[in-house]
Structures are given as C-alpha cells and as structure tokens.
C-alpha cells in the first residue's frame, strides 16, 4: 500500500540514488586519500610531495635523514593517523547517537560525553597540575564514560530506554559539567591558561603514544556500532514497529549507546572536544547515501576523517606560520555546511 502511494516520478530518482551509491564510496575514498596527502605535505613548512614520499619510504636514506623527513615522520604522520582515527570515531559515533535517540540534533555532545571528558581533564589540570595531552587521556576516558553512563542510567525506566529522556538527560548533565568546568577555569588562572588550548580541540603536539590506550576502545566501539546498524534502521520506524519486527529495542539502544561512549570517549581523549564532526558527518552522508544505517556508518567512517583532516589542514594553512586549532576550524567549516544541508533538505 505504501508503494502505491509513491508517485511514479520516484523511479528515476531511485535509479540515480543507486548510481550514486555505487560511485560515491570510490569518490569518497579518493577525497580521503587527497586529504591524507595534503595533511602530510602541508604545514607551517610546505613540502613537495616527492619529499614526503621519500621520507615515508625511507628512500631519502642516501643523504641521511634530514629535517624535512623528521617533520613528516615525526610530526605529520602521527598527526594524520590521529586525525583519521578520531574523525572516523566521531563520524560513526554521531550517526549512532542520532539513530538511537531518533533526534537529528544528537551527537556525542548532546549525550554529555564531551562535557564529561572536559570536566575530568580540567579537574586534573586544576588539581594535579598536569600539562601534556598524553597525561589527560585516562581522565578524559573516565569522565566521558561516567557521564554517558549516568545519562543512560537516568533515561532508563522499568527496563525501557526513552530516547527523549536520554537526549534531555545528556544535555542536562552536559550543562552542569560545562558550568563546573568554567567555574574551575575562572577560579584558577593557571588552569584556564592550560585548559583553554585543550578545550579548543586539536590534533597538534600529540604523538602516537596518545593513541595506544584508546585504540582498543575505538575498535570495540566500531564493531558494536556496525553490529547494531541493521537494527537502527528498524528503530527509525518507531519503537513499536521495531519491536514488531523482532528488534530488542532497549538492548539495541544500550549497545548503541555503549558504542557512542567508546568512540566519543576515545576521540575526545586524543584530540579534545572537537565539535561538529559527529553532528555534520552523518547529515552529509545521509544526504548522498540515504538513511540506511548499513550504508550510513561506512559512509561516516570515510566522511568523518575527511572533515577532520580537511579542517586540520586548513587550520595549518590559513594563519601560517601560526595555526588554528582543529576544533575551531571544524566549527567554522561545519556551520555553513550544515546550513547548506538544511537548505537542500528543504527542497
């Protein structure tokens, strides 16, 4: 009956969608490779691609490892890898967060995760006088996880997980923690000075050692996210329809929530709270690939890193020789992007 209601004119649209769907992964991957190349080549000291390749392949060994090669392997390679991982985690986390809450505004931010991590890190800076991102990692993970679990616990009732309450609970917790974070920073000038850079969200000044503790979390989170993807499609029809289709709604929501926590906690621990990638990536992918989560999640796996790396590269270029924190760039970039998306969605 639903099919009959569709006007005949959707047939060509359907076809163009499938054409897009088969072409786009390839296009997406090309763009991603381009972003990776740019991320390796561009910086306060721009390097030709050949130098980058030499450095990567170690073939520059003839004239000894020079400063350029050190920049590439020592700074830009770790930075790019971190960007890839964080971007992927954020993109997928956003898609799952929107799926389980059925709210297009949901993102790791609304579930309180970034606020939790920020508060824990700023507290650590305040109380323990920490100064290096690698020291923040465990605090960020703990803060993020504790907040997200608290939000889920509040939204649970009689074994049911109400998506509106989940989003509301997360937002409320985020508001509380953010205000405490501000309070800490306003009481201690030293904390403000240390924390404001971390809070802006950045990929700079981190080695791969930052990634080691969070990689298992992110891998587990991705696995969970992909496992619940088909069920998220059913969830989009509403709880009752999903239940009728045999989907254990609450369990999916809990598992999905866990995936979001793992991914977002991992991402924020590495790069600080980078806003917007988690919100924008799923909307972007949905626009071209449609709402099916089985395509949406892989799409976000590519779109998230593209957004994050592109933003990071841009941040290195625009105010050379200084650079902009990636979190600031994503927000600047994401804003018009989201506006365009909204406009296209209106058509």
């Amino acid at each position: 009956m639903l099919r009959n209601d569709l006007p005949a004119s959707t047939a060509p649209a359907q076809r163009s969608l499938t054409v897009r769907q088969s072409l786009l992964p390839a296009v997406g991957l090309c763009v991603l490779v381009l972003c990776i190349a740019l991320s390796l080549a561009l910086g306060s000291r721009p390097l030709p691609l050949s130098t980058v390749l030499d450095a990567l392949l170690g073939s520059g060994a003839g004239h000894g490892r020079d400063a350029d090669a050190d920049v590439v392997t020592g700074l830009r390679v770790p930075r790019t890898i971190i960007g890839l991982v964080v971007g992927a985690a954020l993109g997928v986390a956003g898609a799952v967060a929107q799926g389980i809450t059925r709210n297009p505004l949901a993102s790791p931010t609304t579930l309180g995760i970034n606020a939790g991590a920020s508060f824990a890190v700023v507290t650590a800076i305040y109380a323990l006088h920490l100064t290096r991102p690698v020291e923040y990692v465990w605090f960020a993970i703990a803060g993020a996880a504790a907040t997200a679990l608290a939000a889920q616990a509040m939204a649970r009732r009689a074994g049911d997980l109400d998506p509106t309450r989940l989003a509301l609970g997360g937002t409320v917790l985020a508001a509380v923690l953010t205000s405490w974070t501000s309070a800490l920073m306003l009481t201690s000038r030293r904390t403000l000075d240390e924390a404001r850079f971390w809070l802006a969200g950045s990929l700079a000044g981190r080695g791969l050692d930052v990634l080691t503790p969070v990689l298992p979390l992110i891998v587990l989170g991705l696995a969970l996210a992909f496992a619940v993807a088909p069920a998220l499609n059913a969830l989009a029809l509403g709880d009752e329809s999903a239940q009728a289709l045999g989907v254990p709604v609450t369990r999916i929501r809990v598992l999905g929530g866990l995936a979001v926590v793992l991914l977002a906690a991992g991402a924020v621990a590495v790069a600080g709270p980078v806003a917007f990638v988690g919100l924008a990536a799923p909307h972007l992918v949905r626009l071209v690939l449609g709402p099916d989560h089985r395509r949406l999640l892989p799409g976000c796996l590519i779109a998230g890193p593209i957004l994050l790396l592109a933003a990071d590269v841009l941040g290195r270029v625009v105010v050379r020789p200084s650079e902009l924190e990636v979190g600031i760039v994503t927000a600047f970039l994401g804003a018009p992007l989201l506006a365009v998306l909204a406009r296209r969605a209106a058509r």
């Binding site: 709210n103 297009p104 505004l105 609304t110 509040m154 009732r157 009689a158 109400d162 509106t164 309450r165 989003a167 509301l168 609970g169 937002t171 409320v172 917790l173 508001a175 509380v176 953010t178 205000s179 405490w180 501000s182 309070a183 920073m185 306003l186 009481t187 000038r189 403000l192 000075d193 404001r196 850079f197 809070l199 802006a200 806003a275 917007f276 919100l279 909307h283 902009l324 924190e325 979190g327 600031i328 760039v329 994503t330 927000a331 600047f332 994401g334 804003a335 018009p336 992007l337 989201l338 506006a339 998306l341 909204a342 406009r343 969605a345 209106a346």
Partner: protein, 341 residues
C-alpha cells in the same frame, strides 16, 4: 461564568497553587538578596532602604548595589525561561533553547568582540543585545529566502551557533590570559555590575515582549495542532510562527544583554513546569516566567553568598541548582504520565 469541569478545575488549581508558591519563593529570595551581603540587615530594613527610607548607608548599599542585581536576575530569568518554552513548542523539539536560533552565539560574539576592542564594559549589554538580534535575524532572513522548513531551521540555527561559538572560542584561545578570563566570565553569564538603566530598559522591554507572548498564547495553542488544522482554524501558520519566533529572539537577546548567555534556564524551566503543571496553558506560561526568575536569582544568591570562591559567574550555578530537580522529576515520572496531575 460557566462551571469548569472537575479535571480542568483541578489542573488550574494546581497551576495557581504552583504560581503562588513560585511567587512566594520569588519574594523571599528578593528580600534575601536585598538584605544579605557584607553589611547584612533585617529584611524589613532592606525593603525600606529600597524605597529610600532608613539609614543612608543602607539605602546606598541596597539601592546602588544589591537591587539592580536582584532585579536583573529576575527579569533575565523570566525572559530566558519563557523564550525556551516558546522555542520548544515552536520547533517541537524538547532540546530547543536560544542556542538554536543563534542568539546565544550572537550575544557572546558581540560582547567578546567588544571586550577585544577594549571599549568600555558599560557597552557590553548593547553589544550582546545587538549580536543576539543580528544573528537571529540573519538566520530568519536565510530561512525565509530559502524556504527552509521548521525542522531544518534548527539545523541552520545550530550551524550559526557553532560558527559564532567557534569565533568566541578562537578569541578566548588567542587572548592574553587576563582578557580570556573576563571573556569566559561573560560568556558563562554573569550579573556583576548590573546597573539601574539596564534594569529599567531591559525590564520594560521584557515586560512588553512577555505581554505580547501572553496575547499570543491562543495562537500558540492552535499552532500546536499542526500546519493543516491551524490553517483551517484561520491562522496563517508561517506568519504566526514567525511572529512568535521574533518574540523569543527578543526575549533571549534581552536576557543576554542583562545577564550574559546564562545556560540551562531556557532549556530546563519549561520541562520543570511541564512536569509539575502539565500541558501548556497561559497560566503555565506565567509559572514558567516566575520559575525562571526564581532559578536565576537563587543561583546568583548562592554564587554571591554561599560559595567559598568569590567572583564566579551565575551561569556556573544555574545548571547545578536546576539539574537535580529536573533529573528527579524526569526519573520519577514516566514520559506518558506528565499530563494528569
């Protein structure tokens, strides 16, 4: 006068009772706010000092320092709460707050930019008001020109908000620590340095807009019925929605001018009221305004008098004060059962 049916009467009764309680709390907090401080005095003395009677020293303290701050808190709290309530209904989104129409970002940006130029701090409220209004109006113009649906407008609003927040963040990161601190202080929302001109101008404007909002409450109820029914009942939904949106923008911008973009009041008070008093009516709108005032003033008094640290902005306390209530109510009542008292 027609006899109201039982349940309606009960609901109205309950709302009136809650209004009375909120009003009592408001009066008590006002008295407390006027009387306590470094030179604390009995509430009666403080109230007389407010109208210029009694010891000249008391009069000076109450009239010049305490009263403007107390009234600024009440006005800003009421404006924020009502704007949040209207926004949540207009957008049919329980998470809507002045963030989604760009007001928070615009006001913060305006004020921090002014701080950056080193201009007089007395101009900050105007910069905030201007920034908030400009951001929201730009958003409205965009939505109108490109015929964006209401649901998508939230996305555009968040986009504007994020962009402006990024600009503010950038300034905070780049500023010298001293300036960064005052920028953060202001964007958290603070009532330090409220003055009588601000209170009179802001209060008058907020009162006017609130009156308009009350006059629109019937339209709002009709809008709740959805596009088609509202149209069939003689409302032009797009226009009505635009009018109401302008009201919320004005309220939120005025509040931002008075107190900075204090978080949480606009988000939480509508939910609190809905949990306590049930579905929206004009009476619950009044309750929303009162509760907003109580929350902001209460938070400010705690910041001023109860915290061991001095100089914290009120925005650091609203969420802490309001969240437990909201969370308890949320946990205690199932979602479907908010309606019947």
């Amino acid at each position: 006068m027609t006899v109201l049916p039982v349940a309606r009467r009960a609901a109205r009764h309950r709302t009136l009772l809650l209004c009375a309680a909120a009003l009592a709390a408001l009066v008590a907090l006002t008295a407390l706010g006027l009387s306590s401080g470094q030179a604390s005095m009995p509430a009666g003395t403080a109230l007389r000092a407010l109208v210029g009677l009694g010891d000249p020293g008391d009069v000076l303290v109450v009239q010049q320092f305490r009263a403007p701050r107390v009234f600024a808190a009440l006005i800003a709290g009421a404006a924020l709460a009502v704007s949040g309530s209207l926004l949540q209904r207009l957008f049919r989104n329980p998470l809507a707050s002045p963030d989604v129409v760009g007001v928070t970002g615009g006001a913060s940006f305006g004020a921090v930019l002014l701080l950056a130029t080193g201009a007089s701090q007395l101009l900050t409220p105007l910069a905030a008001l201007g920034g908030g209004l400009l951001a929201a109006l730009a958003l409205g113009a965009f939505a109108r020109r490109s015929r964006v649906a209401v649901g998508s407008l939230v996305l555009v609003g968040l986009a504007v908000q994020a962009g402006l927040a990024a600009a503010v963040n950038l300034m905070i990161v780049r500023f010298p620590a001293e300036l960064a601190s005052s920028a953060l202080q202001w964007t958290t929302g603070s009532l330090y340095g409220s003055t009588w001109p601000e209170v009179w101008a802001g209060g008058g404007a907020v009162a006017a807009v609130l009156t308009a909002a009350f006059l629109h409450s019937r339209r709002l109820s009709v809008l709740d019925l959805g596009e088609e029914s509202a149209g069939a009942l003689g409302l032009t939904p797009a226009r009505a929605r635009l009018h109401l949106l302008l009201l919320t923008i004005a309220l939120a911008s005025l509040a931002a001018a008075l107190s900075g973009p204090v978080g949480f009041v606009a988000l939480a008070v509508p939910h609190l009221v809905r949990f306590l008093a049930g579905p929206p009516t004009p009476a619950t709108l009044a309750l929303t305004a009162l509760t907003g005032g109580v929350l902001l003033l209460g938070a400010d008094l705690i910041v001023l008098h109860l915290l061991p640290v001095h100089g914290l902005p009120v925005g650091a306390m609203t969420a802490t004060l309001g969240a437990p209530w909201l969370l308890v109510l949320m946990i205690r009542r199932p979602a479907a059962d908010r309606s019947t008292p």
